[in-house]
Each structure stands twice: as structure tokens, then as C-alpha cells.
Symmetry: C2
Subunit: 905 residues, 2 copies
Amino acid sequence: MTSFVHSFSAPGTPDRDQLGGKGAELARMVQLGLPVPPGFTITTAACRHVFEHGTRPAGLTGDIEHHLALLEEETGRRLGDGEQPLLVSVRSGAASSMPGMMDTVLDIGLNDETVAALARVTGDDRFAWDCYRRLVQMFGETVLGVPAERFGELVAAVVAEHGAEDLAGVGADGLRDLVERGDALCREVAGRSLPQDPREQLDLAIDAVFASWHGERARLYRSRFGIPDHLGTAVNVQAMVFGNRGAASGSGVAFTRDPATGDLGDYGEYLPDAQGEDVVSGTRTAVPMARLRELDRPTYHQLRAIMGTLERHYRDLCDIEFTVEDGRLWILQTRVGKRSPAAAFRIAADLVEEGMITEDEALVRVSGEQLTQLMFPQLDAGSAGPPAAAGLAASPGAAAGRVVLDNATAVAMAARGEDVVLVRPETRADDLPGMVAARAVVTARGGRTSHAAVVARGMGLPAVCGIEGLEIDLTTRQVTLAGRPVFAEGDVVSVDGGTGRVYCGHHRTVPAEVTRWLEGENVESPLVSAVARLLAHADRTRRVGVRANAETGHDVERAVRFGAEGVGLVRTEHMFLGDRRTYVERVLIGSDAEREDALRELHALQRESFAVLLAAAGGRPVTIRLLDAPFHEFLPDLTELAVCAATAQVRGNPNQALEDRLAAVRRHHEENPMTGLRGVRLSILRPELVVAQASAAFEAAADLRDRGCPCDLELMVPLVSSAQELAVVARSVAQAADDVAARRGRVPYRLGTMVETPRAAVTAGPLAQRADFLSFGTNDLTQLTWGLSRDDAERSFLPRYLDDGVLRSSPFTTIDEEGVGRLVGLAVDEARASRPGIPVGVCGEHAGDPASIGFLAGLGVSYLSCSPFRVPVARLEAGRAAVLAEGCPADRFDELAAPIPATAG
Amino acid sequence: MTSFVHSFSAPGTPDRDQLGGKGAELARMVQLGLPVPPGFTITTAACRHVFEHGTRPAGLTGDIEHHLALLEEETGRRLGDGEQPLLVSVRSGAASSMPGMMDTVLDIGLNDETVAALARVTGDDRFAWDCYRRLVQMFGETVLGVPAERFGELVAAVVAEHGAEDLAGVGADGLRDLVERGDALCREVAGRSLPQDPREQLDLAIDAVFASWHGERARLYRSRFGIPDHLGTAVNVQAMVFGNRGAASGSGVAFTRDPATGDLGDYGEYLPDAQGEDVVSGTRTAVPMARLRELDRPTYHQLRAIMGTLERHYRDLCDIEFTVEDGRLWILQTRVGKRSPAAAFRIAADLVEEGMITEDEALVRVSGEQLTQLMFPQLDAGSAGPPAAAGLAASPGAAAGRVVLDNATAVAMAARGEDVVLVRPETRADDLPGMVAARAVVTARGGRTSHAAVVARGMGLPAVCGIEGLEIDLTTRQVTLAGRPVFAEGDVVSVDGGTGRVYCGHHRTVPAEVTRWLEGENVESPLVSAVARLLAHADRTRRVGVRANAETGHDVERAVRFGAEGVGLVRTEHMFLGDRRTYVERVLIGSDAEREDALRELHALQRESFAVLLAAAGGRPVTIRLLDAPFHEFLPDLTELAVCAATAQVRGNPNQALEDRLAAVRRHHEENPMTGLRGVRLSILRPELVVAQASAAFEAAADLRDRGCPCDLELMVPLVSSAQELAVVARSVAQAADDVAARRGRVPYRLGTMVETPRAAVTAGPLAQRADFLSFGTNDLTQLTWGLSRDDAERSFLPRYLDDGVLRSSPFTTIDEEGVGRLVGLAVDEARASRPGIPVGVCGEHAGDPASIGFLAGLGVSYLSCSPFRVPVARLEAGRAAVLAEGCPADRFDELAAPIPATAG
């Protein structure tokens, strides 16, 4: 039977599952010969036994006794000893990092007797009583369950009674008073006080740490990060060391490289005569690491040597907590250091250069999310004052411009060369022209998954969403916040989508050097070199193609510069928003004559647009999707129209044209347009629309051919659910192809289908028989698989779902692997079985989501098609996915996956 | 190498795939020793060879030559002979019946010479020329492609020139004239006339029959009935016999039993001195079979003996075509006879009684569709005059009542004991109270799959839908058809949902004896005995349970009488329609105080309703589904409200209450309510609603227990997509259970989930871990799997899809096996793998659809839950499915699957 307790100095590879992360790292550092305060770890197996049986396993108490004796021997101190008292800390440490989620008790071993001994040994009465009052408080909260605020009230009372500003101004007597009153509080609330027997303190603390695994916060954290509930935590018992024993003592934090930039050098802070928590709390100002060199040269050089050892061991940036006690250096903790996105790229590339890691390893140490951060411009923090309004950081980047409150104004002002910021209650598909014209978007309603946020992220447009209390008055053209005016249409504001803040006035933005380089500018910097190196490796490694979704020549050109290998999705309905909506309206509900005219104009417009796109793609494949949008997006709003007509009538000015239009709109009104007459259904009901679009594409391709330009044309049918539907549209397309061929010669094309209904996914086999390629529209597929309308869900229940942990992330942001992902996987397999080698792409938003790309690549799709801005991200993530699929270990980097702090060091 | 031609008298079991249905039956009758005009069959293999190679296979022409010689020898006549000419018919005959879809040419062998011989032999000049002109016409149309209407014009001209009323009044000379002019028409249109060489006539006719396989109609028929395109047809060449050679000749049709009632006896018609087509065309009045006994006793007895032989052979009702030529009886065709629903049950039960078939065989010879027909009352055909309006026969049954034009009036009048007929432009969910109150429903818009049709069929309510040109004026309370008034509110009309007709005035309806018996009345009749016998056998055989969907005690009682084993679905939202909608409105968008009040009232109402349901179920399981309806169904219409508010303002009477309500409705307005805030989402956002409903159910159960009544309670959560959602609701339900338990003692219950989103289907494994049972809602599952909103689809593209053959049937009527069915199958398997033995039901409309039940039963579901009226149908179909799954042959009964004629015999 293995022991339930392991000394930090036990031989053998530390087992993270048994010892937890902290215990394993402490043992590893001891093995590396580093000066670690001695101690031992009680295993997760012991914790699980307690959970399962309600009692400690046989032998555990004896094991603790044994290791405690070894610890006393090693330190030369004894728990509860009146001369040389041993103090220990008791800390949790699970196999997966759960920072701050479980309990800690420090200074165990103090009682009314040992506190005097500690005062004597340290020569610091106040320090000893401060340690004691901390123990009373931590033990009271953690073990006895006394509410923290009750201790807070006590501290406030004592501070007040001593006429001090805070506890630092209270002397030993006051702290002694606090210990007594804290103890009384424990008796009052919990019916008992801190045990005077240090052995009992230790046992109760260990049990409390075990129990904290099932605490509310810990449970929530696990459910959020998918950590199984049954694992349990290890417990570390470690001798206390003190950095506050005078001038030859101190505490600090050090990084082996600059976590903000990745530069080599001394980074960190040191605080003489202080404990670690003083460094963290910032009550006293720490000094840079370089000062340690002056204060204590031998310790500084020892620390530098240790940093080198650790970095070589971990082959990564390390973050070290250390304490100097009476001139002796102790390492308390080491972990892989958090870093800024720029530092992540720099460090990964530098470590390759230094021969410490391979390019594959470097690739998995950076992420698409980090690359995204590096591509957005940012507001110059120095120049901006307090923000005028703050909401959700919905889409990163920064921009300034004049406030506009509607689409038409935005488009008009942008056409005059003005920078504009679109401010709307919320956005919908029809706001797209305004968003395209704007430099930034601000909305009053909607979360990080709202239309505005999602579209803005896709476009690389800064956005601040969900500013509570923001009201937009379209009559006065004023914007108010909680009733008070903040700005009016025409005012200049600056928007920082990375922080969610909106400032009055124009503030400087700093363009991102990575983006300038991607755009083709000649930028030389260590960061750009690092990004270039890792992107190039990703391109060599990845097995999935990257295309872009684009509707303008400008976007296609940018996508190609950013590395896109084609255009995977041209949403032709995007060419008919704003004023152009009427073309489609006339085709759909106009008279025969109106329809004919509109079709002719639509054909001409599309022919020109397609030619521009095909030319910009320079022979790379371009996938033009037939018109797909809910019917109502092309028609006027029914309620608005009904109100107009009714009020006109009441006013005695009945308007027959208005009434006719209202009747037509009412006739075509749909209860659920998302699942109504759209996509292939419209194509079947209005084959003339298919013919117009397809022949426009064929003519555009013929025009290009005649000009000697290469061109690779694909047409795609949306919202298909059955092979029969596809067959009907294929006939219309073939008819258009024959017509154009008769006049211009035959133009080669491939005809494919979207897979965006669950039925298309489960019948992908038969569909593949009729299609030249398939492309997943994971956005609609997600809506239908979950049975939820994205816009409605984001306005009602989705935020609650995310808050309550019913969902870990919005399925529209990151692909739902278990549901939608399963349908995609099944469809890929069956399509390939039915027609080996058929190209299968993904053109939904997930194709550009860093957290989804690896999963999608793993399903074996042929290419991903995302917004141009996301193309480099997709390239990088696709490369990472390939490396990870080869088994390159990523599990040690769980710290890297945690949120990146704004700036560290 | 097998021959491409088989004589009818060839030995061996006839191969239907090679000989086609008609050829195989002719050969079988020859083998039974029946007098069949001799002939031979050219196989489907020959036809396929022609399709594949464009020419006849080597040897085919020789084979035909050979068999023609045998035929001439057997008949003593020769093709083209100037004394004893042989005439033959050339008929198609595919393996699967395709009645009337392909071509036939009769009287081949006639030319200018043989027509004279035929006249001599028959002694009937007019008859010979009539045969000849038929040949010219049929050959012209079929082989030469002359349009039928051109011959029609010719006939009309000749009839007019001879001053006759129709062709029967035209003599031999006129017919000779018609032959000449028909021949000229052929030359004009096709460039050639009927060949004078009978051998050439035969060859061309055979090739034309082959070619007719690819005709437009045949192709459409195959695509509709799923017959593969490559099979091809056989061709039968048979000696002509003539029933019009005088008093000792004649033709007739006979049934071995009465196809209308199933009674034993002589059924059929005989027409002396006539050809078969004269019997069918009805130009002369046929006499009943009994007359043949007087006219020609030996032939009558010979026919009776043959009928016995055939019925013993086919072990089923046979339909026989025969001809008497000069006292000699010829059997031309036999097939399994079509029959009325009543006859189907009678004959199946009688054949069991007579020891001819087993009960299993009897069960597969009847269908749920037939049973449905037997359950509806019908309008007494005799008493009704011409209909006032006609539309689609949307839901069978008949009823009379006063016209009402809105729900409130319907409910109010019904409450006064009046029979009412609800007449609406179309219906939606909110019309349900009116439909419940009505005896019949009539709508101006909507097809057989519209809301009105579907709900009416579910309720067993007669409905006529889609009456074109019907306008309902709610101001004048008048209903007009194409602008002319037909009836006004308050007028009495009679509705026949089985024929789609609406009559003015009250006409008698005949209640169905089967329904009276099912309702518990003591009805003794051969039909009821037959139905009872087969239903009992179905109950013994079926492996799937049958429950009912019901919301009232009355419906539950009826369901139990009809054989339901429980209530599989209580749609609690149905308890809050009409006036009661405001309870839910107040809970959803009311102030805190309004919400509290509404919840209390809702709880009291539901407690009472649930107690009634549970009591009526008498201890059988009752599955109460938590509130599920799109949010907007409980709120006022946004457009109507906006118009009211705007016009009030313009009129100078602004109404603040109205404005507030409008603002609230606008705030909660959803673009796509079907996929919006409903089902489990509402339960999570408003847990108080779950608590109110669940505690009402628990209190109702406790009330029953206190009264000593048995009770088996299930609660079900709608629209679940993930196990997390279910877990959240389970907590609210457990809370309600604990609360009630504290006051009343614990009430046992099971908590299950609907599977109606595709995600629920693909994650049925994890869901089964958290649910006591699963129940498929195939209606929503169909909407989401196809990505189509039923109401919108039925108003726009679904009719076109059905017309164009993109869909064979509406997926809302009959389950889409390939898509939705696959998801159901996958979910059943994975739920059972995850939790063996977990009950899995189906409570969507498909559970009551005869065409879907077999498929669903085959997937291994535990029970089907359908409307009470469909319970007997589900029992019967579930029994059939079990028998068919055991391999009981059903393929010989393809004729039975064809539409049943109104009345035969």
C-alpha cells in the first residue's frame, strides 16, 4: 500500500495526479536542488477516501505524525515548542490549477505560548502578534466558518479604537486585543475558539482544506472549466519562512524574461523586510529586481542562477516567488509565467532560436486568440481621460470618429471621407451597410454574442456593446446615459473595443505593427519576425486550407494578402442591403413588369460585382452563394407599415399605394422568417432569380477569360435539406450555363451545397452524390440543432444560460462539439464514404474562432473560410491543430490557457 | 440463354419480375386451368436491353415469330389472313402496378383486307369497321404520336356530318369514312399511316409500349411511388376475343365478394352482346350478375366455379374481367379486388373464419387509414342537394351547425348547447378554443397540412379547407364565395369533411357504428365483430404501447375507452388559451404583484385540472408537460397593438395603459418565436412557473391519494437541448416536491424530457442519464431538422414542393424516415445504451399517422402517444407492424395500398 503522505524530498518523478500541481512542482524544485522550505504533501487519494468514506484512511494520521517529526528534525524547530516553535502553512493543491478557489491556513503552530517564543526569536513583538491574529482570523473563517465580514468589522473597530488609519498603524497591544476579540467572535459564532494545541490546529486545517474542494466557488469553477468533481485536492504542509526579519530579509517576485515584451533581462520586484503578501498587496512600494543586486549581491546571483536552472528545466518563461530570511534565499513557488500576446510570440520564437524547443513546440505555445490581440489597433492609453461611457468589450481594436445614429447618415458621411462611429440601440442584418461604413460600433443592448459584436469581430471592427442606460433619441439626435446627455450626432468620440470604453473627443490610436506587416508594409521588429516565423511554420504544418468570406474586391485583396487560398463564401445577399434592398423586393413581390426590370438590373449589378471579386482572387477558387436571407429582410417592417397606413387613414389621407404595399407585405409576412422562405426554397419558388445570378456569374467569368485573367468559379446553394432540392436548382443553373455557353462559349464551374440544416448533415451521403463540394454553415446549423434563433436567444435567455453555467460558452462563438460538432463529423464521414475525396469546407463563423479551428481540423474538413481579418488566425490555429494531432504535449501549458493579464512585471 | 418470350402456357412458377404483373397473372390462370385467350409475354429483360442498347436483343424477333406461329396454330387463325384473321392486343405490364400509365394497342391485325374478313366472320359490318377505326386511332396516338385531341376533332366532325348524337349513332359507312380520314390525319401529322402489314403493326406496337415506360406520366408515377426507373415493362401479346358477337356473347366484371360491404354472394355486372369497354364506359346499362344465371346457366355456373378457384388460390377477394364469345367463357384478367374499408375488415375476418388465412395475415390486410374512415360519421348522401361551396377534404367526418366567424362566438354559442361550425380565413393555435367548441371547421386558406387540417384530423373534427374565393367579412358577418354571398353568421350548414363539401341547411349525418362500439355502446354487426377481432389480435401482437395526448377529463375518458394505456402528453399550454391567456401574460410581463397573483391563480387552476386528468386516467401513467409555447402566443399581436396605440394618438386620445402594454410587448417581441423563449428556456428564466406547475401536479396527486384513487404521475420538460438544462429544471421540480412533501407527504413522480431538438437527439445518451424517460416530439423535431417553420412553409413553399415532387409527402404528416427518422433511431439506440430499459415514447403527430407507426415501432420505441381518436388506429398499426416485422408477406397486396374507390360493384 502506497503512503498517503509524500515528503517534498522523496525520490522519483512527482506524480501530479497524486500530489496536485503545487505539490508536484515543490517536489520537482527540491529535486533540482533548489532551496525550498521543507514540508510534505497529503495525496489526492487521501482526499478522495475522505469523500467516499467520511473518515480519514487508516494510517493517514500516523503518516502525518511521521512526516511532521521529520520536518521538525530538518528545521530544528518543533510544533508548539516554547523556545523554537515550528510554524507551518496548510495549502490546497489540485491536479488542475484552480487558483484561489480553495482554502489556505498560514502560521499554524501559534498559541498563547508560542507567540511569545516567536516574538523572542524574531525580536519583533508586533510581528508575532500579527501572525497570531492572522491565524485566528484564517482559522476562524476557514475551519470554523465564521463569516469574513465579521472579522472585518472587528478589525475596523480595533483600528478605530487605536485612532489608526489601518491595521498597519496598530501596535502589538492592539493586535493582541484583536486576537482575544477574534477568539471571542469564534466562540460566539462557532461555539469554539482556535485550539491551543497546534497538532489539533493542523488536523482541523487539513480537514478544512479537503472540505473546501466542495465549496460553492470551487464547484462552480470546476463546472465552468470541465474539471471532474471526484478528483479531490492534495494538501501541502510546509514550514513557514519569513521575509520580514529585518534588513537581511525580504520577499519578491521574478520573471525569467519580460512577460510584457518577451525581452531578456531582469524582471521582477523585491521588497526588503517584507512578506510575500506585502509585495502582492502593494501597501509598500517594491523596488525593481536590479536593486536586489545592490542590496544583497550573493542572493541576487544565486537567484539568477536558479532562474537559469528553472528556465532550462521548464523550457519556458518562469514566474518565481521567493523569500530571503536572514540572508538565506527560499524559493516558494515556480510556475510557467503568464505573458502578453506579444511576449508569447517573442518567447516562443526566441526559445526555438536558443535551441530549447522545436518549432512544433513553439507553435502550440502561441494561440490564435493572442494573434488576434496583436492585430488590433489600440487607443493610446496616455492621452484619454475618464471614459464617457463603458460597456462590454465586444470586439477589440480602437478608432475615433463622428457619432452617427443611423445607417443612411453613416454611409453618406463615410462617402464624404469622414470617419464615423455608428451608435445604435442594437444592430441587425440591415445595419450592415452602416457597419461597413463605420470605424467603430457602439450599441446600447446586446452581449458579446449579439449581432453587433459578432459581425464587428468578423469584420475586425472595434465594438462596445451593452452600455446599460444608453438611450438614443432619433428626434433630438441626442444620446443620453441614465438620462444625462453624453454626446450628440456629429460629436467626435473614441472607442476602445479592447476595454469596452467610449471617450469624448479624438484620441490617438496606435496601429498594430503585425497588421501593417500582414498588409504588406515593410516592418522590421522582433515581434514581427516571431509572428512571421511561427505563421510560416503553421503553413508548412497545417493540413487544412484557409479561405476567406468576402463580398468586395477590397476584402478579397486583403484576404489574399493575409494568406487566403481562395474565397470560400460570397454572400450575395450582402450585395442587396440598404437602398439596393428594393431590387430584391421588386423581384419578390413586384408586378410582372417590375420583376422583369429588377431581374435585369440585378443581373447587371451582380455581373460587375462578380467580375471584380473573381479578378481580385487571381485564379483562386471563389464560391458564390445564391441569395440567402429570410424573406422579411428584403421587405419593409410590417408593424411600421401598418402604423403608417392606419395613421394616414385616421388623418383622412388614405394612401392607396401604401395600402397595396402593406397588403403585399402582410401576405408575405412570416411568423418565423429564419425557418421560412429563404435559401433553396426561394430558388425553387423563383427559378428566375437563380438564372439571373448564375448567368451573371458565368458572364463575369467569360468577361475575365476574354481579358486573359485566370478564374475558378464555384456556385453554392444555401439551406438545402434534400438531394431533390439540389437537383431542381442544378437544373436552373445548368439552363443559365447553357444560355451563356451559346453566346460566349462554355464556362467551367462547380456546383456545391451548404450543409446547414441538421437534415443536410444526416443525409450528407446522398447530397455528396449530387454536389461537387459541400460547405458547412455552422451558424445556421447551430441555430437549428439547438432550436434557437440567435438574435432572439441573445436578447433573452442566452446571457442567463452563460451566467448560470448552463452553457460554458455561446455555441455561436465556439462550436458545440457534442451536438453540432457531432453532426458535422458524421456528415464529413458519410460524404467522403459516398464520394471519396469530395471537398468539404466550413464557412460559418466558427471557421475563424481559435477555440473551434482545432476541433474542425480534426474532423478532416478540407478548408476553413473565415473573415479576411481572421485568415492569419485560422492559418496559425490550423498549424497548431496539426501539431497537437501529432501528439505534441500541450497539457503542461494549462497556465497559458488562463486569461492573460493586461500587463505583468 | 433464357428466352425473351414466354408463352402464357409455359410451365413453372411465373416470374413477376420478368413477366410483369399482368403476364404473371395470365400465366398463373392458365396453370389453374382457366380459359384464358392464348398469347405470350415479352420479358422486362428485353425491354431493359432495348433501353440500354437502343436495339432489340438478338433473337427477340425470332422468338416473337415462333410464339406468333404457335398462337396462330392454337387459335386456327392467322395474322393478316383474308379468311380467318387473327387479331391481337398489345399491352404493357410492369412488375409493379402502374395502372393506366403506359400504352395499349388493341385489334392489331386489321387492314383493308382483313376488315372485310372480320365483317364476314362476325356477320357485323359495323363492328368490323368500328374495330378498324379503333386500331387506326390507338395506333396513331400510341405509335405515331398523333395528339388525341386531333382524333377527337375528327370523330366530332364525322358525328356531326352524319347527324348523329355520338359515334354509336354512326353506321359502318361513317366508320369507314373515319378510318380513311384518320389515316389521312396520321399521314399529315406523322408522315405515315397505319402499316397494312399486320406483322409491322405488331412490331411497331411492341416498341411503342416499351417506349411508353419513359413517358411523362409513367415517369411521374414512378417518382411518386418510388418505383426504380431502370426496371422496364413487359409486353403481353394476346389473341382478341369479342363479347359482341350476338346474344350468346357478352362481357362482364365480377367480384368474389361484395367489395362495398364484404358480404358473400354474386356481385358484378354483365352486358350481353358487348365488349369489356362497353361495361366500363357505361354507354349501355349492364345487368346484375344474377341475370347471367337466367341468360346462360352453364356459363354462370362455370364462372362461379372459376371464382371459387381463384379465391381459394389468392385467398382474397378477386376482381375478374370476363368475356363470353359465342357461348364460350374467357377470363381476361384477375386481380386482388379493391374494396371499401368496411369490406376490408369483413373479408379479412371472414377469411380467418373460413380457415383461408391466419389472424396475422388478416391484420396486414387492413390498415389504420381504413379504420380511420370507419370511425367518422358521414353525411347522408341522399338528403343533400348541390354543395354551396367545395374545398379540400381536409379531415373526414360530417357535421352540421350554425356558422360562427370567431372563437368567442363559437365558445359562447357552444356553451348554450348550440352546434356550431367555425368558419375562418385560416386557423392558428389561438383558434383552438373555437375549434374545440365547434362541430366542424371550414377555412378559406390552407391545404391538407395546414393548421386547421392537422388539428382537426387530430381531434377527429370534420374540416374543409382551402375553399378558393371564400371571403369572410367580420363587419357584415357575411361569407361570400367569389363575391357572391353564400351564408351569413347564424345560418345552418352541413359539412362533409370526407368529400370537402359544404351544404346549406341541416342534413342528416350517420354516426359510425364502429365509433359507437368503441365508445362502449352495445353494437352488434358483422363489421363491428370484424374490427373487434382484428383489434384484439393487434393488441395481442403489438410490442409498442399506445397512450393518448389529452388535456381534458372528457378526452382522457374517451382515450381510455378507445384502449389507451395512459396519457403520454398533457400540453399544459392548451389550458391557457383564449381568455385564460392573460394568466400567462401576467406571469411573463406583468409587475411583481401581478405576477404573484397570476401564479397563485394559475396554480389553483392547474391543480384542479390535473386532478381531473389523473382521476380519469384511473392509475394509468399521465405525462404532464411543463408550459411550452412560443412566447408571443400568450401576448397580444404587436402590429395590432401598435396600430391601436398610433391611431389613438393621432385621434388625440393617447392611452398610457395601451402605450405601456405596447412597450412591454415590443420588448418581448421575437423575430422567430418558434425558436425563441419557450419550453425549458422559459422554465430556466422563470423557475417560479415550474414550481407553480409542478406543485399543482403534486398537490393534485396528493388530493387523489387522500381520496384513495390510484395515480401515476410523470412530469416532462419541453424543448431540452442539453443535460444541463434538464438538471436546472429538475432542481426547481425537486424544490416543489419537497415543499409539497413537507405539507402532504411525498408524492412519487418520474421526470422526463422531450427530445425535439436535433441536439437532444444526438445527445440522447447523456440526457438519458438525467431523465427517467424520453419522449420524442416529432413535430418540432421535423421543423428543426429541416429548418422549416411549419406554418410559414405550409403557406409558401411546401405546396410547391409537393406539386413538383421535391417531396413525396409532407414530413409533418408522415415521418421523414431518412432525416428525422434517422435522428430518432440514433437517439433511441444511444439512450438505451446509456441507460438500458429507459422508456422512450413518441408524442408527436406522427404517433397517430398510419404510414409512420410501423416505422416508429420498428425503431424500438416503448410507446406511441396520439390523439384519443387515433388510439384504435395506433393499436391496429402497431399490431400490423409487429406482424410485418416477423416477415408476414405484404408485397402481394400492393393493389390494396392503392386508393379505395368510393363504391364498387
